[in-house]
Point group: C2
Chain length 371, copies 2
């Protein structure tokens, strides 16, 4: 099979494993490290595709679970596939749907065959298997698709995590066997929580299967920042340098910086858009809560020097008014700013790595961000 997605490592930092690269897909390239906004139901909430692009995003994520339930993968296909459906002409990644089948759906039942669950929308009984997860994602048509993995709720005892790792490895092979579309790439997902030996076991088994890229899963579901860093420091070096490395579900600026320091290339998270809808804005000096009365007559933008639509056009006082008055434009503008902030951060990260000064950049940036 041809490899439609391939990774071009460009530079490694002078003082850390942090690296700059380029991810090539049938829908264009992505400079890494990069952050992917999340369009759960085939739309980045409240934003048009051109707003997302103007905020700097080049690759986005859509959720297979949500789209498979509504409007269904077949409807998306009939409407021209995921890119045409949502009018996003750049790279798209879909997850496997497994995480939501476990966490969002009604009582789910896990067997070696797959996971049975009830739709959170209408209670229908559904099953997701490694094979159907791949087939649904092939029908949706993203550039990068993900293996179905078992992500146990954390904290969990080590034997439960070991069992999830073993099943994740077996399911990864079934996903690879089921994968047919030559214009889509399939990524494996490394599980193992904070256990070095389990992360290593999973990484080595998946690397032996030769996936097009590797994700690190299970870090955003209940582990401490210290545990995550430890898991990354163990796992990332085991992943091949010529393949992209994707840390799933991470979007806190501090966590992105820490993960880049171990050699991670790509991130996704609902944080910038969810925070934006809740009136919390990300800035280089930490979070700013836009409902706060302190902004009432503030003529400054959310963040001085930011070139996003919100900061170019509107005062903090106006944006606060929008949130207090429950106007849709508030969440829209704050979401745009948060995406623009994260894309500025990843651009600065790339520049710092290319200049061989990522280590001091990391220290300064974390200091300015605060806790």
């Amino acid at each position: 099979m041809t490899r439609p997605v391939w990774f071009e490592p460009l530079a490694v930092d002078a003082g850390s494993p942090a690296r700059v690269g380029r991810l090539h897909t049938p829908h264009g390239s992505l400079e890494t490290p990069a952050f992917m906004p999340v369009g759960t139901q085939g739309t980045i909430k409240g934003l048009t595709p051109s707003m997302v692009h103007d905020a700097g995003a080049r690759m986005i994520l859509a959720n297979t679970y949500h789209l498979a339930l509504r409007p269904t993968a077949e409807v998306v296909q009939t409407l021209g596939g995921l890119h045409r459906f949502m009018n996003w002409d750049g790279p798209i990644l879909t997850d496997s749907g497994g995480f939501q089948a476990f966490s969002l759906a009604g009582t789910s039942k896990l067997t070696e065959h797959g996971v049975k669950f009830r739709s959170h929308i209408d209670g229908r009984l559904l099953e997701l298997t490694p094979e159907s997860a791949v087939t649904i994602q092939e029908t949706l048509g993203a550039d990068v698709i993900m293996c179905l993995d078992e992500c146990p709720a954390l904290p969990a005892e080590k034997p439960a995590i070991a069992s999830a790792v073993a099943r994740t490895i077996r399911w990864a092979q079934r996903c690879k066997d089921a994968h047919t579309r030559a214009d889509q790439s399939l990524f494996g997902i490394v599980q193992g929580a904070s256990h070095e030996d389990l992360r290593a076991e999973c990484a080595e088994a998946l690397v032996a299967m030769d996936f097009d890229g590797y994700a690190i899963g299970g870090v955003s579901v209940g582990e401490s920042r210290e545990d995550v860093r430890k898991a990354l420091e163990v796992t990332t070096p085991l992943l091949p340098a010529n393949k992209p490395r994707y840390l799933m579900g991470v979007g806190r600026p501090q966590d992105i910086i820490d993960a880049v320091a171990t050699g991670i290339d790509v991130f996704d998270c609902v944080l910038p858009t969810r925070n934006g809808r809740n009136a919390t804005c990300l800035t280089a000096k930490g979070q700013v809560r836009m409902r706060n009365a302190i902004h009432k007559t503030d003529t400054r933008p959310i963040e001085e020097g930011c070139d996003c639509l919100a900061c170019r056009s509107f005062s903090r006082g106006y944006i606060r008014h929008l949130f207090i008055a429950n106007e849709m434009l508030g969440p829209i503008l704050a979401s745009i700013h948060n995406l623009a902030y994260l894309h500025r951060l990843t651009r600065q990260i790339r520049e710092a790595i290319l200049d061989g000064r990522f280590v001091p950049f990391r220290a300064e940036t974390l200091e300015a961000l605060g806790p």
Copy 2:
């Protein structure tokens, strides 16, 4: 006082009083007949100013009642005035706040001095007088401001309407006396419901006061389409040809066409954006309900040939999905389309008048729109 807003009549239709003109303001000009979208709280719900402009709008309306309560006229002024506040560099009109003080607020009490009411937000007791309505609008800083009028709830007995007309005339004089800003224009409002004699009495009294423009009020609050047409046919000819004529609160395509036929120049209404949020789209063939299952796999745009962002970029199937999935982008796209539709309609109206074929255009357009 200089007249910052002035009206340039350009052409009258060959077979009707329908006319084309240009309204000049300190923030640019407006080709008439024109429709003004409503930005109640200083934002056209869900849309950025550039989306509103791209949809064809050149002049917008903001509501004095809402802005005076929140964030207050003083805060808007501190944030640079209404244009800077909402980043709309084109013409803006504010209403007087009277209509909402009567209809939205808690039990209102009307005296010759003004109207006392309780804020619908926090229950504060407030008073709007002809003088304070002008002062608040001067503080907000729109290009065109409106007199405080008495708009009785309809249906009402004729003596009640006669009394409202008499008070509207007295209040108009007080507004004119209170008006100080040379860069803002003040419009009078003709009341009188469907009574020809009362409309005529009101129009003549206001014209004698020489306002910068004239609005026809009270037509969107309970009168039949036949009553409205009759009121317009009586009132419009009494208004001076060299002043703009504004029909308040009207936005149904059929009603706009009927009103233009009597010589109306400007309209405002929440209809296109409110309908858009409720998944109802306006088209030349009548309304299309986007939640309908018939659109599920429809790859066509909302309206063939429409050049709005929604129709250029997205299928009916996708927009239906957005509404069914309760995604903000659905209301955003439908609102954009509805504004673009109304602006296309007014452009076609202007072209028909300039070509002297408004009468057949009206018949064909009403026929295609259906009931």
